[in-house]
Amino acid sequence: MSTAVADVGTHDHHGPENGFRRWLFATNHKDIGTMYLLFSLIMLFVGGTMAMVIRSELLAPGLQFVNPDFFNQMTTMHALVMIFGAIMPAFVGLANWMVPLMIGAPDMALPRMNNLSFWILPFAFTILLSTLFMPGGAPAGGWTMYPPLVLQTGDAFPFLIFSIHLMGLSSIMGAINIIVTIINMRAPDMSLLKMPMFVWSWLITAYLLIAVMPVLAGAVTMLLTDQFFGTSFFLAAGGGDPVMYQHIFWFFGHPEVYIMILPAFGIVSEIIPTFARKPLFGHDSMVYAISAIAFLSFIVWAHHMFTVGMPLTGQLFFMFATMLIAVPTGVKIFNWTATMWRGAMSFETPMLFALAFLFLFSIGGFSGVMTAIVPADIQYQDSYFVVAHFHYVLVPGALFAILGAVYYWMPKWTGRMYNEKLGQIHFWLTAIFVNVTFFPMHFLGLAGMPRRIPDYATQFTDWNFVASIGAFGFGLSQLLFVYIVISCMRGRGEAATAEVWDHPKGLEWTVPSPAPFHTFEEPPARIPAAHTFT
């Protein structure tokens, strides 16, 4: 069970260090959380700039701005930066800030490893982004790095592999830290089923990370040895199989996308009950649903490979297993709706993002069910229909949950309320533009437009134009978010109370706002009834 932290009385109190040492040598979960979040915000803009290059080129048929090879570098790097630099670190930053607070622990179990997990990332991304300036340019074979194409990468190749290894190390160490913290450092009367959903979602996500990041490491190491050390894992001429790479990659890749959405589910489960002023409906089944989704995520990977020439039995199995994931996911959507049902809702910015998640992630879920149907997927695969699907689940899915979480918890972090009016404007601009950008991509895919192309046949002009305008609007709107966050961090805005919102549940709301540098140095002996989850 949970172990109370001992020897607190002998701790001599000093505040955080001064200057760069505070950050370079940080071991405090709040500081490390802040660094992860700021890093991910910067990466969001780096990846976003690449998206602007892509959408500028795709604004009209013909090549106006970039060459095809550079365009492929942009699509490849956009994905790598967004997945490994923006979404994943943002969720880790939220975990760092909130998990110890939510379970009544003074910090993460392994604070120095926590520091290393963070600082690996700027180093890894410096390496990855520097490939843009190397001869041959950045990797251009897609973030999925399929061989043999990826083996045609120039000087950037070993740097790509090395940076992926570093990012994987960061994730694995972070995941270990989270599991050890949650299992060992919960408040005495917080049994597992009494934990908040965000903590549950991260416990399960951490197990997924430990299970699959090493698989990615294996896959890219085999790419490295095929390139430099004469192996033939993926080269048919030497007896290998390019499709084996795809199996290994997607065995990582499918759980990876659940790694990017489960914490989002946890966040939505925190926000909606607070603003509906009603307990989360079906707390235990929400836990079982997340567990079922995590389990199923291991047995569906080949649905990314329906056109490689898979035997019929394999296609049938992967189709059925993939369709099955819709069941626990649907349960979650219904439970969130039931939480809202006959509640007393108010619509502050965090709630707006959570509600947009419900609608728009569901649209991504629908296109997911469509792509599960193999004969139809034969038409959708590698077309813009798939691009629409995954952007719906990642942008109004994962990203909206992150934005909502920042608005929800920022008053706790900074002690200041963000500007609600501006937050609402940011929300509406973002929500409208995200649909203008990505909804037309469904049409483009169905009309026959392949993905990863810098130029297209003229019948695809109209929707591409709309999507590009949407993308520019979406990108610009995020500048407003930066302004809101920086204002809040600089102390502008009303002082926030400890509770911030209207009687929210959770131990994080029992500490002052801003949360002191050290919290829960003694574990809470009894959790107040108002903050207990079932």
């Binding site: 509906a276 707390h283 809702m345 003229t458």
Partner: protein
């Protein structure tokens, strides 16, 4: 900079003027299987729309009705076993209803027995190669000159003025209407993918391996698709064009394709 901007604007104006093609759906295609695929697609889509109406309807209703500003205290319930069971079982049933016809179509797609014609398709960076098995006919199929001139950055040629821009080749694959055509697919270098939407056919071309698929076109016409697996710099510039003709036209075409080869052999030997 000004030149780029004006090209872009011209391209935009030209494009929107010549192509008001706001297509929103997949083609039904010209084979029995493409029609079945389309029907499956519409079936799943309709289920999704139906479920969306119900679920989003409930969400919108609750957002409008169950607001704090209406002054009613929130309810306290947070469990209902019967609700949970219902909304677990019903989706499972719906999925089963979708899975059965999908599986039936998949079985048909995999049945490539007794073809009338076999073509070996090889992907190259960045063109296709076609060989009619058992005949002496084989050739490369490359992006048409009109497209390849226009496609370069700063070419000065408006894509809207090029017929079938990026979807045209110098020499298409020709097949007879009504014949079951088996496609054997491989690659010379990296993974490509052979996709023709109107024939609902897409299969990866993998170096060192032979994939197999088939189609049977029930209508004549020219059907255009593109490479569907990122294969490097010119991935966007290696279209797939299949011309389906009447059987006698096909015979005539096959003969004409063989003759120059035969003449070249005798000519060379003289």
């Amino acid at each position: 900079m000004i030149r780029r901007l004006s090209l872009c604007v011209t391209g935009l104006l030209g494009a929107t003027a010549s192509h008001a093609d706001w297509a929103i759906n997949m083609p039904r295609g010209v084979s029995e299987l493409s029609a079945e695929t389309y029907d499956l697609h519409m079936m799943v889509f309709n289920w999704c729309v139906g479920i969306a109406i119900v679920v989003f309807g409930a969400m919108i209703f609750t957002i409008v009705r169950h607001r704090k500003s209406r002054g009613v205290a929130p309810a306290r319930f947070s469990h209902s076993m019967s609700a949970e069971v219902t909304w677990t079982i019903i989706p499972i049933i719906i999925l089963l209803i979708m899975a059965v016809p999908a599986a039936e179509t998949m079985i048909k797609i995999e049945d490539s027995r007794e073809p009338d014609l076999t073509v070996v398709v090889t992907g190259y960076q960045w063109k296709w190669h076609y060989t009619y098995q058992g005949e002496d006919v084989s050739f490369y199929s490359t992006l048409a000159r009109s497209s390849s001139e226009a496609r370069h950055k700063g070419s000065g040629i408006d894509p809207a003025s090029v017929e079938n821009y990026l979807l045209d080749v110098d020499k298409p694959l020709v097949v007879p209407k009504g014949a079951k055509v088996r496609i054997l697919l491989t690659s010379n270098d990296v993974i490509h993918s052979w996709w023709v939407p109107d024939l609902s056919i897409k299969k990866d071309a993998i170096p060192g391996f032979m994939n197999e698929t088939w189609f049977q076109a029930e209508q004549t016409g020219v059907f255009r698709g593109q490479c569907a697996e990122l294969c490097g710099m010119d991935h966007a510039y290696m279209p797939v064009v299949v011309e389906v003709v009447e059987p006698d036209e096909f015979e005539a075409w096959m003969d004409s394709e063989q003759e120059p080869a035969a003449a070249a052999i005798t000519g060379g030997a003289r």
